[in-house]
């Protein structure tokens, strides 16, 4: 991993990211915008399932999930830019490792949500219908994991040495 990080740091692309202040700053802004889109749209489905926002039908809220994926893609790209720019400040950072762990768990949670058929079961819920407990568990787990991703992302400069 270290060898890869050192090689990455030596590439022209890495140089490009760190030697133009606006690249890093723009990606930072985009990373937070993507975060808000992701958290808003995925969180909307989570709070619908948890029963904190029961007025819309689940199928209506489901249409927001693709926008959450859009926010995630923004963050995947901008996050990759940070990693390419300064790989060495991430590879040894415990906060970064926890962030990646929570990210993988969140992805696993999404996968299980669709594979186990819970997503299909709640698709037909009308306004004011209560979601089954299995859906609530997935929703609570999702919120916890995404807030965790956010927490360890924010802790990158404090637990580790990144900026």
């Amino acid at each position: 991993m270290h060898a890869f990080a050192i090689w990455l740091k030596g590439t022209d692309l890495s140089w490009l990211v760190t030697h133009h202040g606006w690249v890093w700053a723009t990606c930072e802004a985009l990373h937070f915008i993507g975060m808000s889109i992701l958290f808003g749209c995925i969180g909307a489905l989570d709070v619908r399932m948890l029963g904190w926002w029961k007025s819309p039908p689940v199928a209506g809220v489901n249409a927001l999930v693709r926008w959450g994926v859009f926010g995630f893609l923004i963050n995947l790209v901008t996050g990759a830019v940070f990693f390419i720019g300064e790989p060495l400040q991430y590879v040894d950072n415990p906060a970064f490792r926890f962030k990646m762990l929570f990210l993988v768990l969140a992805g696993w949670n999404v996968l299980l949500f669709y594979v186990t058929g819970v997503a299909d079961r709640i698709e037909s819920l009308e306004p004011d219908d209560d979601a089954p407990i299995s859906a609530k568990v997935f929703a609570g787990t999702s919120l916890f994991l995404w807030v965790g991703v956010m927490f360890f992302g924010r802790m990158l400069p404090f637990l580790g040495n990144s900026f």
């Binding site: 808003g40 809220v61 956010m150």
Partner: protein, 267 residues
């Protein structure tokens, strides 16, 4: 709230307009009381209510299809422009901010000096635990995600996405936005206290505050608009206004986030 309005309407219409024979108002009152009791017991369920609203909205939603694409293009282009503008401002303000930073001591007023000397400010700066600066910064990020995330959900719906969510069903989303905003006002005040003289000297920080004020005002206008229209039918007239507010909101939040991020990098 329309349900309540309807109930009030029934009660209101029972007021006799002019003097009538004694018996008739009494009968009317009795009938009215029966109707009122009926509505008290059999209030239409939100599901029935939401269906009625989404049915009422169908024609207008169909009529807007042509302008939806244009709204999206305008929203995306404006948000990108906002992001670029703020980043250009970085280079301009960065110079100003650096100059201001070198002159902080000479220009710090008594209030800022007092603020940065308070126990709270010193504790935030010196605490090594997660409850200190880093934890407050995390809460500030969480509040941002809640406030802007909730706004994005409302804006997306106004621009035509997720049209199966009735507009009236959007109102509870504003609650999440306000919680996020209050969280950020409190955590932001603490972060400001911890670094008052430098933050106050940074023009980008003032720019950010103005953007947030405008962003919150836009969202409050949208909420008021939705509260007032209530039912789908009344919404048709204000559709264009709501679309414009949604685009403005996306642009302002994009710029506010960019400005906020840049504050961390200019000083």
């Amino acid at each position: 709230m329309t349900i309540k309005d309807g109930r009030m309407g029934i009660r209101g219409s029972s007021q006799p307009q002019m003097r009538e024979p004694e018996s008739e108002p009494a009968i009317e009152r009795a009938i009215d009381e029966t109707i009122r009791r009926y509505f008290m017991r059999h209030e239409p369920s939100p599901r029935v209510y939401a269906r009625a609203i989404s049915t009422a909205q169908q024609p207008s939603a169909a009529g807007r299809d042509g302008s939806t694409l244009r709204s999206w293009i305008v929203a995306a282009a404006s948000a990108t422009a906002a992001l670029l503008l703020v980043n250009i401002a970085l280079h301009f303000f960065g110079v100003v901010a650096a100059r201001a930073a070198s002159d902080i001591d000479g220009r710090t007023g008594p209030f800022l000096l007092w603020l940065s000397s308070t126990g709270l400010a010193r504790w935030i700066n010196e605490s090594e635990t997660v409850f200190g600066y880093s934890g407050i910064l995390f809460l500030h990020t969480l509040g941002l995600a809640m406030a802007v995330g909730a706004s994005v959900v409302v804006d997306l719906r106004m621009l035509g996405a997720a049209s199966r969510i009735s507009v009236a069903a959007l109102l509870p989303v504003f609650r999440f936005m306000w919680i996020g905003f209050i969280l950020n006002a409190l955590s932001g005040a603490m972060l400001f206290a911890a670094d008052a003289p430098r933050k106050a000297a940074n023009p980008l920080f003032e720019f950010k505050l103005v953007l947030i004020a405008v962003g919150i005002a836009v969202m409050a206008m949208m909420e008021r608009s939705l509260l007032k229209s209530g039912s789908g039918a009344a919404l048709v007239g204000s559709e264009r206004r709501l679309t414009n507010l949604a685009i403005t909101s996306l642009v302002i939040w994009t710029a506010a986030i960019a400005a906020g991020r840049l504050v961390a990098y200019t000083l």
